[in-house]
């Protein structure tokens, strides 16, 4: 129970550190103790010198408009204001699009979303800057705004060309299929709601360079963009990321703008500059998970086996490309989830709307593809009157089959995982009990119904942009035997630092606290990939291992010669080095000896993911090194009177390969699950008809609380080594568990389906809020949702108007009568007009953009 670390034992004791076997499989998060004391330092906690300037942005209030004039005199005159900059004041590069241009740092002429940066205020305090920013007088000429997927499809407004994946002849398969089902599904976006908002702090250096402290998943990209906007060489900008207060994808590209603004002002005034986004600003001005409106047509045989699928996925990308090309691609890659489509045609559209540019979010489009498949499975089951689990199992991939993009399915344990989970959680018995309970409830007129669902997850691991599948690390061993570790991955709470420290400790077989993990810095490990795509441990862990192996090889070579033994007889074990039977040195003594004999004790390590290739122009290849797998079973109870519900129980069996740190991995699974549950049940991202985000604060955007968990919740790891040669045969675990939450949504759907004796698709929407559940319930009961009574529109308007007039004060926003939902769209029309002509993609089939190696997916 002691927290006293042996690392802080006296020097003499450390030199003869006894074996303690502390490598530890479930080591605590490296910052756990400073987390609970509140002393872990985040960017905004860095003590700033007097004279530090603070920034706030002036935001556009129109979704699509020409800025006719900006009167910033009142802003300049406001208390504490030092400087005000607009587009014309930008010194160098003005576009900070991560992959493709299209994201100006500030609006030049046309604003394309509510909240876009018009100007930046420099002031002596955060509050002064924010207050001043509200004083601008801006004249706009409003332009027609496209705010929905269906409008964008109608007008063929895309941020990137549409893309298609094809295997076999889907059209013929559908035509010949005995059963055909058509459906559509609309998924809303999701706010990241990292608890620490976007923040940057930039300090000018005496050599004209910049030191950038930021909360970013992609330090190298921030480095490069700050360098570009300040016209500095990359080497003059150093980015430091010690930790983030949550990322979830939201700090992959979207952290850069604030660092760039700070960098520009720091150069301009030669003082440290700080900027952070308050919660509401953060929610309005940064991108989110993509909303999708998808449709499918599936052909089945009589048993419910899929013969062919035609799917159309349309993502709402916002005004700029950002990472949307790769995100919609990943939605397309995962629109099969775990199911074999013998013939498939998949179209993916990147809809441009006049809203904030959507971005990476845990799963990166995967969940939106996967939910389409799961929704379709439910649809099939309820149409055919079958148990959804049987439909899922019957359509599961088998080894040797290939996906609709040509990747061969190998080591596919999902059937075993699902069966084991079903056995472990008594799926069959409970299903029977629930069927009976629901019949009884119907007979007795009770309002309660139960639902049960077991759903699988298959998630492809690797960046689909091949370049990014590389990583670097830097390991130093000091002469007291303590080890310093850097790598390209960032710590956002996922426990990456401790996992990689465990790998390094394991390589030398020394105590875990011998290894110090330190901030991710672009001057230590250059040209890093973002910590994204669940790849953090996979690639950085291997790079760190390689660095260790380099040093170890030098020591072995030296020791073999020095002690005149064979290298194979030298063992690193329990803080010691055993030189055959001859001699035993402590690790520190061996390091000392090596140093005295002029052996280099520092090394970089490098890794690139093997086996992967993908030709995007043909939409064919092996984009993923392997698949992460898992399954979850959820039981829910709904109240058919009000639509309220409770999640009663969840069981999860997830495949993390040979887990490096089971506690950390389970933390990822549980956290991902609840986040996914939030997306599918409670979190409702809503814009009004002017393109203004209505759900713009935690008062009206509700992420789950502790009460929402199932009280009965069993999470287990599936015990099996990854067949691929990943680091210690582990599997990536960041994103895949997010999609385990599909089970909760499907269980709600199942409970509603009971009202139609499981013979009708309930058409439950996402997120399944109490309102959505009641709507589906009433549909199943044949009760009209539309109000019979004539609405006195005058009354409504006056109420709404009354609310709106005052709404700016306390967030009680009025909404238009129609919360927009994407309508069905005709895929053929779109398909006929869109081509797959993408010169870039064909010239460089595996690079989505031409910016630089470190630019994101």
């Amino acid at each position: 129970m002691s927290h006293h670390s042996s690392l802080f034992d006296s020097y003499s004791i450390r030199r003869v550190r006894p074996p303690k076997n502390k490598i530890g499989t479930s080591a605590k998060h490296d910052s756990a103790i400073s987390h609970v004391m509140g002393t872990a330092t985040y960017v905004d906690d860095i003590a700033k010198p007097q004279g530090t300037l603070h920034l706030a942005v002036g935001k556009s209030s129109h979704a699509h408009a020409r800025v006719l004039s900006m009167d910033l005199s009142a802003v300049r005159d406001a208390d504490g204001v030092v400087d005000v900059l607009s587009f014309k004041d930008l010194p160098a590069q003005t576009d900070i699009g991560a992959v493709f241009d299209g994201e100006p740092l500030m609006v030049d002429d046309i604003t394309e979303y509510v909240g876009q940066t018009l100007f930046v205020v420099v002031a002596t305090s955060h509050r002064a800057a924010k207050k001043a920013a509200t004083k601008a007088v801006v004249e706009y000429e409003t332009l027609p705004a496209v705010l929905s997927i269906d409008k964008a499809l109608e007008q063929e407004l895309f941020v990137r060309p549409s893309h298609f994946m094809k295997r076999g002849d889907a059209a013929t398969a559908l035509e010949n299929a005995p059963i055909r089902i058509e459906g559509h599904i609309h998924m809303r976006g999701q706010e990241h709601f990292y608890l620490e908002g976007q923040v940057s702090y930039v300090v000018p250096c005496d050599d004209g360079g910049l030191e950038v402290y930021t909360s970013s998943q992609h330090p190298s990209e921030v480095q490069q963009l700050v360098a570009e906007v300040t016209d500095l060489p990359f080497h003059a900008v150093n980015t430091v990321v010690r930790r983030m207060g949550g990322g979830f994808g939201g700090k992959e590209t979207q952290a850069a703008a604030w660092a760039c603004l700070c960098g520009i002002i720091a150069k301009r005034h030669n003082v440290p500059v700080s900027m952070r986004l308050d919660r509401q600003d953060d929610m309005v001005v940064t991108g989110k998970r993509h909303e999708f409106a998808n449709r499918y047509e599936v052909g089945l045989d009589e048993s419910g086996r899929i013969l062919g699928v035609d799917m159309q996925l349309a993502g709402l990308c916002g005004y700029a490309p950002d990472l949307s090309d790769a995100i919609v691609d990943r939605a397309m890659f995962h629109c099969d989830n775990a199911y074999y489509y013998p013939a498939a045609h998949v179209a993916g559209h990147r809809c441009k709307t006049h809203t904030v540019s959507n971005t990476a979010y845990r799963g990166f489009g995967g969940p939106q593809g996967l939910m389409t498949a799961e929704y379709m499975m439910d649809h099939i089951a309820y149409t055919l009157g079958q148990d959804p689990l049987q439909v899922r199992l019957a359509n599961l991939y088998q080894d040797g089959q290939s996906t609709h993009y040509g990747q061969t399915i190998e080591h596919f344990d999902l059937a075993a995982i699902m069966t084991k989970l079903a056995d472990d959680c008594d799926y069959d018995d409970r299903r029977q009990q629930i069927l009976e309970a629901n019949q009884k409830a119907a007979a007795e007129g009770s309002d309660k119904r139960l639902g049960l669902a077991l759903t699988p997850v298959k998630f492809g691991i690797s960046f689909t942009v091949q370049t990014l599948n590389q990583a670097g690390a830097l390991v130093h061993i000091y002469t007291d035997g303590s080890i310093h570790l850097n790598h390209g991955g960032t710590e956002m709470g996922q426990g990456l630092y401790i996992k990689i420290a465990q790998i390094v400790a394991n390589e030398f077989d020394v105590d875990l606290d011998t290894v110090k993990v330190s901030a991710t810095r672009t001057d230590k490990v250059p040209n890093t990939s973002p910590t994204a795509a669940s790849s953090g441990t996979d690639i950085n862990g291997k790079a760190a291992q390689n660095a260790c192996l380099n040093i170890k090889a030098r020591i072995l070579e030296f020791a073999a010669e020095h002690f005149d033994v064979a290298q194979e007889d030298i063992r690193f074990e329990k803080n010691h080095v055993y030189i055959g039977d001859k001699e035993t040195l402590t690790f520190a003594e061996m390091i000392q000896l090596s140093y005295q004999n002029r052996i280099s004790l520092s090394s970089t390590g490098y890794y690139k993911t093997p086996k992967i290739f993908y030709d995007r122009s043909k939409a064919w290849g092996r984009p993923f090194f392997y698949f992460a797998l898992g399954a979850a079973c959820a039981e829910v109870e709904i109240d058919t009177l009000t639509g309220e519900y409770k999640v009663l129980r969840c069981d999860v069996l997830h495949d993390a390969g040979q887990s490096i740190n089971p506690a950390i991995d389970i933390g990822q699974i549980e956290g991902g699950f609840v986040q996914g549950m939030g997306w599918l049940t409670a979190e409702e991202l809503i814009w009004n008809d002017k393109g203004k985000l209505a759900s713009d604060s935690p008062a009206n955007y509700k992420i789950p609380t502790a009460h929402d968990l199932p009280k009965q919740w069993n999470v287990k790891l599936y015990d099996r080594k990854n067949e691929e040669q990943t680091i210690y045969n582990s599997k990536a675990v960041g994103e895949p568990p997010f999609m385990l939450a599909a089970s909760v949504w499907c269980a709600l759907n199942n409970a509603v389906a009971s009202l139609g004796d499981y013979k009708n698709n309930p058409e439950l929407t996402m997120p399944a809020t109490p309102e959505a559940v009641l709507k589906a319930v009433m549909r199943m009961q044949g009760t009209s949702w539309d109000l019979k009574t004539k609405v006195d529109t005058d009354t409504v308007d006056s109420l709404v108007k009354g609310a709106e007039e005052n709404s700016d004060l306390f967030n009680e926003k009025a909404m238009p009568q129609d919360v927009r939902h994407a309508k069905d769209i005709d895929p053929k029309e779109v398909e006929g007009k869109q081509t797959d002509n993408q010169p870039n993609a064909i010239e460089h089939p595996n690079v989505a953009g031409a910016r630089g190696p470190a630019h994101s997916e």
């Binding site: 910052s31 609970v36 002393t39 985040y42 990322g247 992420i703 609380t705 949702w785 109420l799 004060l809």
Partner: protein, 572 residues
């Protein structure tokens, strides 16, 4: 001057912008970075800090009147530091996460952690760590109060009561975590009392409960968390109070902290445009979200009379709805407008148990510790949860209008009666329009009068929101159904609606449709059909017009079902 303790050290302030929040004070003035800002609006709990009223500072009239032990150590409670004015800390000890741990060497690996912190570490309860200090404070608070309660109840402190799953969940219901999925945090909450007990078992001496938080196994010379050596001058001299000078001021901005109703009347009469600050759980957002710097603030926290409650005999003329309950007790519960939710809770549990039950769904513990009944009514938000319930309970509101046009010069305490007029009006007449009430400049809410319920009156409250905990009502229905002595006929019905329209209102048409009907579900089904005559709900970010319309009807039916079920199970 305001004075308080921050992490064991005394702070006295006179010159300070009155709009300064506790969080700003901690982070910007004190460089104390262990408290984080997650949302700045009291919704996420990242900024949670723990507070304890200093003993002997301000005597609570609440305790006086109910004969509670005055010597009892005041309980710990949590607040959202982001929206709490620092002036509200006057007379309190404010504690942050780093203070809970003993870390003299300034190295985390060598710190001796509080049981709540230790449990969080052992259960892997932190991932990104940003929300963690807030969770730690919420857990430490429930831990300390539980420990205090156990030691008061039992002579031996060996058997600290184990917290239940539900108690742990309730204690963190105002804290959001986006990383962990909460499971390890709940586990930590369940584990911490074991750790504490183990710690105590390892100690030779049995320590005073509240002090031991700071000294427990910490072997430090740190001042105790309850600073017993608080000098008596924490309370302002009485001589000073006559002048009624601002407690703090800066650059022309002033904050007054009247100590009595008389002082309040005078200060308000002299400053009718002042912002009246009770708990500030809504007003705080004007400072943090809308960047308002209030010029003059009158803070009510020191007016003990506003925090008291009593039972008042009323003449039965108020039973104007033609009921003939001969044995009507004709008593009203009078709740001081300054009572926080948490202070009201035990009172309501006694007199209106079904009202008290809904509290776990109103806001968060942090907000319930600060938010007041008067504030919830006076801010006239259409989504306040108390007004519809109070409407259903036929509550009245006691308003006071203070004016400065009296002949006195304003600071003559003896004639304060002459500077105000009082009125007690039915709450249903108080709300005029969206955010408009009968309150004028210079007015404040003194108290709420709620007639006690008879045996034949039944209160049902239903709240609908996207999230169970800490969410704003899409619809709140509060129904008081009065039945005949035989229980078979509905004699009166009062239906309060919240979240449905620009103001909280009574569904009068629907009420009429219920009165005189049989106390059967069918009557409620029928009456629900005319609800649309009373309210045309709005569509907003929380729910559509359709959902609100359907669900309020269905909730009324649910009330009917509950009424019938209750009659079947109980005899009274």
């Amino acid at each position: 001057m305001i004075s308080f303790y921050l992490n064991g050290k005394r702070h006295e302030l006179t010159q300070l912008n009155p709009n300064t929040t506790v969080l700003e004070y901690l982070r910007l003035h004190e460089g104390q970075m262990d408290t984080k800002e997650g949302c700045g609006s009291g919704d996420c709990g990242a900024c949670t800090v723990m507070v304890q009223r200093l003993p002997n500072a301000n005597q609570s009239a609440l305790n006086d009147e109910n004969g509670d032990e005055k010597n009892a150590t005041p309980p710990f409670y949590t607040i959202n530091s982001c929206i709490t004015l620092v002036s509200l800390m006057d007379g309190h000890h404010l504690m942050t996460a780093s203070y809970l741990a003993d870390n003299p060497e300034h190295h985390p690996e060598r710190a001796l952690l509080h049981p709540a912190q230790q449990a969080m570490v052992e259960c892997h309860g932190s991932q990104c760590g940003f929300c963690t200090p807030g969770f730690v404070m919420s857990l430490a608070c429930v831990y300390e109060n539980n420990r205090m309660q156990t030691s008061q109840e039992t002579a031996s402190q060996n058997d600290a009561k184990q917290l239940s799953y539900d108690e742990v969940v309730a204690s963190i219901s105002g804290n959001l975590c986006r990383c962990t999925g909460y499971r390890p945090i709940i586990e930590a909450g369940l584990l911490m009392s074991d750790i504490g007990q183990q710690r105590e078992a390892e100690q030779s001496a049995v320590k005073d409960l509240t002090i031991s938080l700071a000294t427990d196994a910490m072997a430090s010379t740190k001042e105790s968390i309850v600073s017993e050596h608080v000098p008596a001058e924490t309370k302002l001299n009485n001589a000073e109070s006559k002048a009624i000078a601002p407690a703090i001021s800066d650059a022309g901005r002033q904050l007054y902290m009247p100590k009595s109703l008389d002082e309040l009347n005078q200060v308000l009469a002299a400053n009718p445009q002042a912002t009246i600050w009770a708990g500030g759980t809504d007003l705080g957002l004007s400072v943090t979200q809308h960047l308002v710097d209030h010029e003059v603030i009158i803070q009510l926290s020191a007016v003990e009379a506003l925090k008291s409650w009593s039972l008042l005999d009323t003449k039965s003329d108020s039973s104007d709805e033609g009921s003939d309950n001969e044995q009507a007790p004709s008593q009203s519960l009078v709740l001081g407008a300054g009572m926080s939710y948490q202070q009201m809770l035990p009172v309501l549990e006694q007199y209106f148990p079904s009202f008290a039950q809904v509290f776990e769904r109103i806001a968060s513990p942090q907000i319930r510790n600060m938010g007041t009944i008067g504030g919830n009514i006076a801010n006239a938000s259409p989504i306040g949860d108390l007004p519809p319930i109070l409407l259903a309970l036929d509550a009245s509101i006691h308003l006071r209008h203070c004016a400065s046009n009296s002949k006195e010069s304003g600071n003559d305490l003896d004639n304060s009666d002459s500077v105000y007029t009082d009125e007690i009006i039915p709450l249903s007449e108080f709300f005029l329009d969206y955010k408009k009430t009968k309150l004028q400049a210079g007015s404040y809410v003194v108290a709420i009068h709620i007639p006690l319920m008879h045996d034949n009156q039944h209160l049902f409250i239903h709240k609908i929101s996207k999230r169970y905990e800490d969410d704003i009502s899409a619809c709140l229905l509060a129904a008081r159904i009065d039945v005949s002595v035989d229980g078979m006929t509905i004699e009166d019905a009062r239906l309060g609606l919240g979240g449905m329209a620009a103001i909280p209102l009574l569904a009068t048409t629907c009420q009429q449709a219920l009165i005189g009907q049989a106390a059967e579900v069918a009557s409620f089904e029928q009456a629900s059909q005319v609800l649309s005559a009373d309210v045309t709900p709005m569509t907003d970010v929380r729910a559509s017009r359709e959902y609100r319309s359907h669900v309020v009807q269905r909730l009324l039916v649910k009330c009917g079902k509950q009424l019938v079920a209750g009659r079947q199970t109980e005899t009274a």
